[in-house]
């Protein structure tokens, strides 16, 4: 783990950022000031169309903010050199919504091992072991040799999670992971994400810091998580003692 993060520096530090969707002028959130500390579990709430996906992508560094600064692990994203950016991306995981954007033509196992093989060369046995470990933890071992596109989108979403976990990220972004899932799958995801948050063998015992978008805070109630609301062009993080807003 980054030394600064261990010493109490936020993993994600946003200062006066302004978030806009790509190729659009609408402002999703202006003057965003937000800090996410090591081991926190944040819920980003908002109604349909409030811009949660663009907000999350911007916080994860996949889109540029229109203004302001976003720092991951104490490093300003816009100032990172190519090798620094690569190292930074290895520490951040991102799970896309609605099927997880699998790479067509690759099997489930190949999707999961792709980031490992790209970033960590020459450790084949270790990499194979890690792929097996992640597939077992996400209960995807049986589908390892199927092409990702042949699976239902709920399973693809799980492959997206496995792919994001392959590199053992310290900071994990998930875009509406429970949206459209059956109750049984929703329970699996909530239980699994809580396990990651608390630390488990898959993360080497380390707590994974998580930021999740949702349009239903009720699903996550009672988990001891923190939350913020994206509404009327403003990002409003809540204090731990404040009540959760109702999005219904």
């Amino acid at each position: 783990m980054d030394q600064k993060s261990q010493n109490g520096e936020p993993l994600l530090n946003v200062v006066d950022a302004s978030v806009t969707p790509p190729r659009a002028r609408r402002v999703i959130a202006s003057e965003v000031n937000w800090q996410v500390m090591v081991g926190e579990f944040w819920l980003v709430g908002g109604r349909h169309g409030s811009g949660k996906t663009s907000f999350l992508a911007t916080m994860a560094g996949l889109q540029r903010p229109a203004a302001g600064s976003i720092r991951h692990f104490g490093m300003e994203l816009s100032e990172l050199s190519e090798p620094e950016l690569l190292r930074e991306r290895e520490r951040v995981g991102y799970v896309f919504k609605s099927g997880g954007r699998m790479f067509s033509g690759l099997t489930v196992a190949e999707n999961v091992e792709l980031p490992l093989r790209y970033h960590r060369e020459g450790e084949n046995e270790k990499l194979d072991g890690r792929v097996r470990e992640v597939l077992e933890a996400t209960e995807l071992s049986r589908e390892a040799d199927s092409t990702a596109q042949s699976l239902g989108w709920d399973r693809q979403q799980r492959v997206g999670l496995a792919r994001a976990l392959a590199m053992n990220p310290e900071l994990l972004f998930l875009d509406e992971p429970l949206s459209g899932l059956e109750a049984r799958d929703r329970n699996w995801w909530k239980k699994f994400l809580n396990t990651l948050w608390e630390g488990c063998p898959l993360t080497g015992g380390r707590r994974t810091t998580m930021i999740i978008t949702t349009n239903d805070f009720g699903t996550w109630a009672g988990g001891g998580h923190r939350c913020g609301l994206l509404e009327d062009g403003r990002w409003q993080p809540r204090d731990e003692k404040q009540e959760w807003p109702d999005l219904a």
Partner: protein, 285 residues
């Protein structure tokens, strides 16, 4: 009074209409030129980015990139060998065989080697191989990359810290360049041999040793170097244009077919212009 006034009015209207049409024509031409300028600038920038990524990350992620290059050579090269063989045989029989026959009837069979080298080695071989690869693989490139872009797979690569140019474009540029070079050599050899076979069947009194001596005599060292350079550049051009059309602008799924047609048109024009440039080089050296 009425008649001349009507004529004048009609003439005035016709002039206004002519002026409107010429304004529209100039506006349209201007728009086309601007779009051409934007495309050339965009593709130039894309080429430079690809070159810099290819050089700077030459030795990175070998486990991932090398299999992709092999797959591209397999797809654009090895799988096209039967088609190239068929085309080369047809080219040899129809064009070369008849040319040798014609030269013989004119009593100019001594020029067979020179004509073959000029027509097949320098021009038809490289162009046919390039157009075949464009039709079979270049179009597939635009569809694959355009669909990947439309489905958000490119963003997924970026989220994993994988450079999309390194992963998607560099293997295609290397694969297509190697493939067009190899297919051209194959096409030239088969065409020259089948051409001789056709001439032999037509009872042209030209011994194989004479035919191949003429060919060897007509070939210069520049031919080997320029054919290699030309085919490698054809491959790079087709790969860059098709990848640019598929990746450079965000597409919707219904725009992929338009991007494919546009890429084919640009590649054909690019290949012909590049070939014309090489003709100038041949004339100079």
């Amino acid at each position: 009074m009425w008649f001349p006034m009507a004529t004048i009015a009609r003439t005035g209207l016709a002039e206004a209409e002519t002026a409107r049409i010429s304004r529209a024509y100039f506006r349209r031409t201007g728009r086309l030129l601007l779009r051409l300028k934007e495309d050339v600038a965009g593709m130039g920038a894309f080429l430079l980015i690809t070159l810099s990524v290819g050089i700077l990350k030459f030795n990175r992620a070998k486990q991932v990139i090398r299999p992709l290059i092999h797959a591209e050579v397999q797809r654009a090269g090895i799988k096209l060998i039967p088609m190239v063989a068929f085309l080369a045989f047809a080219l040899g029989s129809v064009v070369i065989g008849q040319t040798v026959f014609l030269l013989h009837s004119l009593g100019a069979e001594n020029y067979a080697g020179m004509v073959m080298v000029t027509v097949v080695v320098r021009e038809l071989g490289p162009i046919l191989a390039a157009l075949l690869v464009l039709a079979r693989v270049g179009t597939a490139n635009v569809v694959e990359l355009g669909t990947a872009r439309a489905l958000g797979e490119v963003e997924a690569l970026e989220a994993l810290g994988i450079d999309p140019i390194h992963y998607l474009v560099v293997p295609r540029v290397i694969g297509l360049s190697l493939s067009i070079f190899s297919l051209t050599i194959y096409l030239i050899l088969v065409a020259l041999m089948s051409g001789y076979l056709f001439a032999f069947l037509e009872n042209v009194p030209l011994r194989p040793s004479d035919y191949f001596r003429q060919l060897a005599g007509a070939l210069l060292w520049q031919d080997f170097a320029l054919v290699a350079l030309k085919t490698i550049l054809f491959g790079a051009l087709i790969a860059i244009v098709t990848c640019y059309e598929g990746l450079a602008s965000p597409l919707r799924l219904d725009e992929v077919s338009r991007a494919t047609s546009s890429a084919v048109g640009k590649c054909v024009v690019g290949v012909v212009l590049l070939d014309a440039l090489f003709i100038v080089v041949y004339l100079i050296i």
